[in-house]
């Protein structure tokens, strides 16, 4: 059937194509993205996405971005993350569906999110 492109397996294999390794902890896929802007520019930031939100990947992108507690925003709609101590932030990937390589587009979205950190 080949390399998976949909669901959580598709998300993970897509990130691997981008050179990003992942792990799954407490039902959250975690990986590192490089912040290119804002207060964290130049730093590697660990981020997470819930496995539960990846069933319809890449048609439907995950909404919540899980981040360690030291990544803060001036304004954010938050909930407790499944990862102990982490916080998940409400960050929709708007205008979704145009990208030729959805994992790359989602990583760009995540970089924009961490770029907003205070």
């Amino acid at each position: 059937v080949g390399v998976p492109t949909t669901g959580v397996d598709g998300f993970i294999s897509g990130l691997r194509e981008c050179g990003i390794e992942t792990s799954i902890r407490h039902g959250v896929v975690t990986f590192i993205v490089a912040a290119v802007d804002g207060a964290l520019a130049g730093q590697a930031v660990e981020v997470g996405v819930s496995v539960d939100e990846l069933g319809a990947w890449p048609a439907v992108p995950p909404h919540w971005v899980h981040l360690p507690p030291d990544v803060r925003f001036t304004r954010s709609n938050t909930q407790a993350s499944e990862l102990p101590g982490w916080v998940k932030h409400s960050r929709g990937a708007n205008a979704w569906g145009d990208a030729g390589h959805p994992p790359q587009a989602y990583v760009a979205h995540l970089r924009a999110v961490v770029g907003e950190a205070a």
Partner: protein, 525 residues
């Protein structure tokens, strides 16, 4: 209808490729193989044709009829296995028309590969015959021990929904005198094809209820009604036929719809199937896969995402639409627009058509689009709630026009593509919406069981069912429901008497060249 029915579906492109090979210019029979993916409903299994595997040189010979080699079958099996598919064996009968019965040699040929196909692919062999004179298909599913179960229909999804019917398992409905005007509009054959379609309406609000009523009046035999919601006072300005009694007695929308649709039905034996659930629940999805066509009358992102998936992954076309009313904040109306479109392979999906925001699906799934605390802390605006009964009927008309174009094909034209009506200028626009290059919904065409996983636990549906259970325990509600049920029984009995009297005294004359009830048999009571 059997409990373990089979239906076969394919896109117009697949049908075209098969016809190009199987219907030869020299009029001889031919044969080929294809792969299929399985899609399970709650009462039927669908075989969704995917790749046509044409024979290479030397893999089949044509000599009036056609024969093929074991190597050809094994090549197709390997292709099927690598794609998690089963195989279908297809052949043509150039001089035939309609649903074909199997000849002895044809049955023997298919039976001889039934065990092999099941053992090697894990899925049963599907046999199919194409009748050359009218391009109608017939199909059957073979068990590994060589027993064939005839399919109930074969659906070809393109600008038109072309359905070949097995008259033995799904006989054409008896034409009723109350359908004379309808049948004279498009003829008996169209009526026979259209009224056998299993049609599901998802969402029984103002639009869905009206759609259901008109399908029932048209004579559609099997109508599925899916909604988990209860009738509330705020619905009564749009749910025509629902009353304060229904609110008081804790009725669901499908309960009310069943009552009204049953009264409107003109079929001799209408089947109203109730689904007290959301399409977003696993049981709701399974139920939906039992239907040939779905009307989407829901406005939430999550159910629309599920329907958008099914239209491609399971080849069940979805007729969708909705209304947007643009009000001035201080009161008054700036404009209203309503849209309609058939969602199917070959047409843009709801996301490409701008009718579904994928990024809002996760929020809807968590119930956050109705959570004032969440909305207050976000940039999103609450759901638009405006609706007007006087205009929702226009959405109904638009959806049903799409339906007639898609199923009947007036003038040979199929569905027109996405349409938008603008109220302020009273103009109808054909919207130039195209599939995006990388649409993940549409890339899942005929994926069947490997479709996107988008269903799950639906708290709102559970809450609604729980509310009804509690309400029905109250003594006054129990008594009220018993009295109301008695009144309904009296009304049903009166309707039967009226129907019998009406048939005796009021036979309407009609042109026998157009509609011949005597030939197809009028039900006498």
């Amino acid at each position: 209808m059997s409990q373990d029915a089979t239906s076969v579906a394919m896109t117009e492109q697949t049908d075209g490729a098969l016809r190009a090979h199987l219907l030869r210019p020299d009029g001889q029979e031919d044969v080929c193989l294809a792969t299929y993916r399985r899609s399970h409903g709650s009462r039927r299994t669908n075989a969704l044709l995917r790749d046509v595997v044409l024979p290479d040189t030397g893999e089949r010979s044509v000599h009036g009829n056609a024969s093929f080699t074991g190597e050809y079958v094994m090549r197709a099996v390997e292709i099927a296995r690598s794609a998690d598919c089963g195989i279908a064996l297809l052949h043509s009968h150039p001089g035939a028309s309609g649903w074909e019965r199997m000849s002895g040699p044809d049955a023997d040929a298919e039976r001889s590969y039934a065990y092999l196909a099941t053992e090697l692919t894990g899925l049963p062999l599907v046999g199919m015959t194409l009748a050359g004179r009218d391009a109608r298909w017939s199909a059957r599913r073979w068990s590994s021990d060589g027993v064939a179960a005839s399919a109930e229909n074969v659906r070809v999804v393109g600008p038109l929904l072309r359905t070949s019917w097995n008259d033995e398992t799904c006989p054409a409905p008896v034409a009723e005198p109350s359908q004379v005007r309808t049948i004279s509009g498009w003829g008996q054959q169209v009526q026979n094809d259209l009224t056998r379609l299993r049609i599901l309406i998802v969402g029984l609000g103002s639009v869905g209820l009206d759609v259901a009523l008109r399908l029932a009046a048209t004579g559609v035999e099997t109508i599925g009604l899916m909604d988990f919601d209860n009738v509330e006072t705020k619905n009564l300005d749009r749910l025509i036929g629902a009353s304060a009694i229904d609110v008081w007695l804790g009725r669901s929308k499908i309960d009310v719809a069943q009552r009204l649709v049953s009264e409107a039905a003109t079929a001799s034996a209408p089947r109203i199937e109730l689904h007290d659930m959301s399409i977003c629940e696993p049981a709701g999805l399974a139920a939906a896969l039992d239907y040939d066509l779905i009307f989407s009358c829901v406005d939430r992102p999550w159910p629309r995402a599920v329907l958008n998936t099914v239209a491609y992954s399971d080849l069940v076309p979805v007729i969708d639409g909705g209304i947007h009313i643009d009000s001035f904040p201080e009161g008054g109306m700036r404009n209203a627009t309503w849209r309609s479109h058939v969602v199917r392979p070959g047409r843009p999906c709801l996301s490409c058509n701008g009718q579904l925001d994928p990024s809002s699906v996760a929020l809807d799934r968590q119930g956050l689009l109705d959570d004032p605390a969440y909305i207050a802390g976000s940039d999103i605006v609450g759901r638009a709630r405006q609706n007007v009964a006087a205009l929702s009927v226009s959405v109904v008309a638009s959806l049903l026009s799409q339906f007639v174009s898609f199923v009947v094909g007036p003038g040979g034209e199929g569905d027109p593509g996405p349409l938008q009506y603008v109220l302020s200028t009273h103009s109808l626009e054909v919207l130039d919406r195209r599939t995006r290059d990388h649409c993940a919904f549409e890339q899942g065409e005929a994926a069947g069981e490997r479709r996107l996983t988008i269903v799950g636990h639906h708290r709102e549906a559970e809450d609604a069912r729980g509310y009804r259970r509690l309400r029905r325990r109250r003594l006054e509600v129990r008594v009220g429901r018993a009295v109301d049920r008695g009144a309904l029984m009296v009304r049903t009995a009166l309707a039967r008497v009226a129907q019998a009297r009406g048939m005796k005294s009021e036979r309407e004359p009609f042109a026998p060249s157009t509609v011949q009830f005597e030939r197809v048999g009028v039900r006498r009571r």
